[in-house]
């Protein structure tokens, strides 16, 4: 029996040819599906491609009709490109690596509507995790409501729950801690118990005073001196132990004192808490701006944080093995690991890409734009250079010609550093609804300034919008003043709307600046705007005195509710200081005095001896 079935070689060859033919016939489709799959996994929303044309011999890939859905708006494309021509290196494909030397993107458009929804049922674990983290962050941001209703009505102070006040909680904690420490230190002092040593030393001092050198003899005197010296040494050790306790007590008491001092800060927080509880507004501009533009700020920052965090996931620094979920298939996906190695090619590298975009029409944003991307790779450590995005307005139809954006993502080594600087003029700005004023603010076309710097886990930056041709419009067809039937009473909803409408509708220019700082996963934000300042000034003019009176009442009520606990805490700390600290100090002083006296008596006895005792 032969081991090899030679007659099967031809069918085998035919099978292999069929496989190759199948692969060649469906290569375009495979590339199309691969681009859609990978794009969807990365972006977190559908990526569609009309067709792909692959010519492996020339290493040319032409993609047509690319549509990338905006993850935040399923019916809008983030970006659409008519044609993408890429020059791909062929040999690295054998290593399952995609290296694109050049890429030209034509017919780029942004924010185009989609015919079908681009939402996906299940995001990839990476994208899903980043999306959820950003959504959680946005949900945690507390935007203070601009609720001015009921200003002149009596503030319902009964809603302030003493247990919810930070001062009360902290004061109780201090008192409890004082009790615990007092017990602890007393027990410690009791364990040391230096009194028997003190009594014994005093008896020895009396013996030394009455000692007759002649009656004792030289040997007896020497023994007495030696035993007295040993007692003095033991007393010294006892003094050290008591001193250690004394140091701990003093440090602990100082800590308690510092916590008592911190109660003033807690009380300020309680004032703010109580103010929020009874809808008493702060009249400081920084407090009003978040109320007016907070939601807009969060909405604008969300995509920025999303892409920043996503870039960290897909462009990680270092050369450690990378893990990702395996491909979707009937069988389990498992985990796929990548093992980058120095001087080898990364799994994906786009050396250079250039894009031309044209925004049509006569609007301020109309014109030609040019963008370049260099060094986009999944393993920046292998490529050794940062990824750079740059875009600028090449020619404008109307409005100022300036407009550029540069983003540098340096993920070559940890800690990663990203920087984004963008300055765009003549950009269509959003329309913002200001429910409290019963108005909408159309920012029109204006300028956007963005800068953002990330170093490791920390991010700092700002986004600023400014416009000199804003338009205010009532939220419904009848404006606040039109709806008025009679002179509204101060503090009523109608009065508030009227006041805000009168204030903001005079403004023709608006500036809004959003600042962010903190951890890149959950930075803190601050909002400033001239609208907030104007509203605050108007409120101060109209109702400043009344708000101040109400605030005084509120503060007095908070003071009344926390005073007892604060006094208890202070008294408890004072007791600890007076009783324990004083007791320890007294004991240490007594020990030191007895020790000194004993040493004096030893010196006196040795002076009376005819010979020197070593």
């Amino acid at each position: 029996m032969r081991a090899v079935r030679w007659k099967a070689v031809i069918p085998l060859g035919a099978t292999l040819v069929l496989v190759a033919l199948f692969w060649w016939l469906f290569l375009d489709l495979a590339v199309e599906r691969a681009v859609e799959y990978a794009g969807t996994e990365i972006v977190g929303a559908r990526v569609d491609l009309a067709s792909a044309d692959v010519s492996l011999g020339r290493g040319a890939v032409v993609l047509r009709g690319l549509e990338v859905t905006n993850p935040d708006r399923a019916m809008t494309n983030l970006m659409q490109a008519d044609q993408i021509v890429a020059q791909v290196r062929v040999l690295p494909l054998l290593e399952k690596k995609v290296v694109i030397d050049t890429m030209a993107v034509r017919g780029v458009r942004f924010g185009t509507p989609r015919r079908t929804s681009g939402a996906i049922a299940r995001q990839s674990p990476t994208t899903g995790r980043v999306g959820r983290a950003v959504a959680d962050w946005a949900n945690r941001i507390r935007i203070p409501p601009l609720n001015l209703q009921g200003l002149t009505t009596v503030v319902d102070v009964s809603r302030i729950n003493p247990d919810s006040l930070r001062t009360t909680t902290q004061a109780r904690a201090i008192a409890h801690q004082g009790d615990s420490l007092q017990g602890l230190w007393r027990a410690e002092l009791a364990r040391l118990d230096p009194q028997p040593q003190i009594d014994s030393a005093r008896a020895l001092i009396a013996r030394l005073r009455q000692a007759d050198v002649r009656a004792l003899g030289l040997i007896g005197a020497r023994d007495l001196v030696n035993s007295s010296r040993a007692s003095a040494t033991q007393l010294g050790q006892a003094v050290d132990r008591v001193k250690a306790v004394e140091t701990r007590v003093k440090t602990g008491v100082a800590g308690l004192r510092s916590q008592v001092d911190g109660l003033a800060q807690a009380r300020q927080a309680d004032y703010a808490y109580a103010r929020g509880l009874v809808n008493l507004p702060s009249l400081d501009a920084p407090d009003l701006s978040p109320a007016l533009f907070g939601e807009m700020a969060v909405e604008r920052l969300k995509p920025m944080l999303y892409w920043l965090n996503l870039a960290e996931q897909y462009l990680p620094p270092g050369l450690e093995a990378r893990r990702q979920r395996g491909p979707d298939r009937v069988r389990a996906s498992g985990t796929t690991a990548r093992f980058p190695r120095v001087r080898e090619l990364p799994a994906f590298l786009l050396v250079y890409a250039g894009a031309d975009a044209e925004v049509g029409g006569e609007g301020a944003a109309a014109g030609r734009y040019a963008a370049t991307i260099t060094g986009l790779t999944t393993a920046p450590a292998l490529y050794g250079r940062p990824t750079r995005f740059a875009a600028q307005r090449a020619a404008a139809v109307a409005g100022p010609r300036t407009g550029n954006m540069v983003a540098i993502l340096n993920h070559v080594s940890a800690p990663i550093t990203d920087s984004i600087v963008a300055a765009l003029d003549g950009v269509a700005l959003p329309t913002v609804g200001l429910a409290a004023a019963g108005a909408t603010l159309a920012l029109g076309s204006g300028a956007v300034r963005v800068w953002l710097a990330r170093a490791g886990d920390n991010v700092e930056g700002s986004m600023a919008w400014s416009s000199n041709n804003v338009r205010w419009a009532p939220s419904d067809s009848a404006g606040p003043s039109d709806r008025r039937t009679a002179e509204p009473s101060i503090g009523s909803a109608q009065w508030v709307e009227d006041l805000l409408w009168r204030t903001v509708s005079r403004l023709t220019s608006v500036e809004v600046e959003v600042r962010l700082a903190g951890r890149v996963t959950a930075p803190a934000i601050g909002v400033r705007s001239n609208v907030g300042r104007e509203v605050a000034q108007a409120l101060r003019r109209e109702i400043g005195d009344e708000v101040s009176r109400q605030e005084q009442r509120l503060r007095a009520e908070v003071d009344r509710r926390v005073e007892q606990q604060v006094q208890d805490a202070e008294r408890r700390v004072a007791e600890v200081q007076m009783q324990v600290e004083a007791a320890v100090t007294a004991k240490r002083t007594e020990l030191e005095a007895v020790k000194t006296e004993l040493e004096n008596q030893i010196r006196e006895l040795t002076r009376r001896l005819p010979v020197r005792i070593p």
Binding site: R2, E95, K96, K97, G334, T336, A337, F339, R341
Partner: protein
């Protein structure tokens, strides 16, 4: 139901074929790779070539494949654990994977996927036991069960089918 009937038909035909028990068992051992590991992978093309070129039972391989498919599905979590251990949790092997990952063609085998690697390693370990078990089983079947089965009408109907005729063309020499 139809799939089950076909499976039964194939089972009967294979076991009673003229190939030696060793050839059928070797075919089953090779065919098991197609069922135990995820099918669309480069190594399975090599396995298929081996089944065709080497003088093993082709129906035996198909039977091994058919029997191993549900086992493969059921054991995927185990393969994932095995693959994870080899690929990610054994630092001594990392240089080997790094080298393989950067060698042409090797990454196309998807060896760097835990399920693929785990199932492939498991198959390598199980191939010999499958072979010996298969050989013993076919021998026992032919000696004890086949003579009685050959008399049954069902068996005669099965062997008269077109599928059986097709199989005869590829039966082992």
């Amino acid at each position: 139901m139809l799939v089950l009937l076909k499976l039964l038909q194939q089972l009967v035909k294979t076991l009673s074929s003229e190939g030696t028990p060793g050839q059928i068992a070797a075919g089953m051992a090779l065919g098991a790779a197609l069922g135990l590991t995820p099918l669309i992978n480069l190594h399975n093309l090599v396995i298929l070539a081996a089944i065709m070129v080497f003088n093993v039972s082709f129906p035996g391989a198909m039977l091994g494949w058919a029997l191993a498919v549900p086992v493969g599905f059921a054991l995927d979590p185990l393969f994932d654990v095995v693959g994870r251990w080899f690929l990610l949790e054994t630092p001594a092997l990392t240089p080997l994977w790094t080298r393989l990952y950067n060698v042409p063609v090797a990454p196309l085998t998807n060896f760097n996927n835990t399920v693929v690697l785990g199932s492939l390693v498991s198959w390598v370990v199980l191939a010999l036991p499958i072979y010996f078990l298969g050989r013993w089983g076919v021998g026992r079947y032919r000696a004890r069960l086949y003579p009685r089965l050959a008399q049954s009408r069902v068996f005669q109907a099965v062997t008269a089918s077109k599928l059986y005729n097709l199989y005869r063309r590829f039966r082992p020499d």
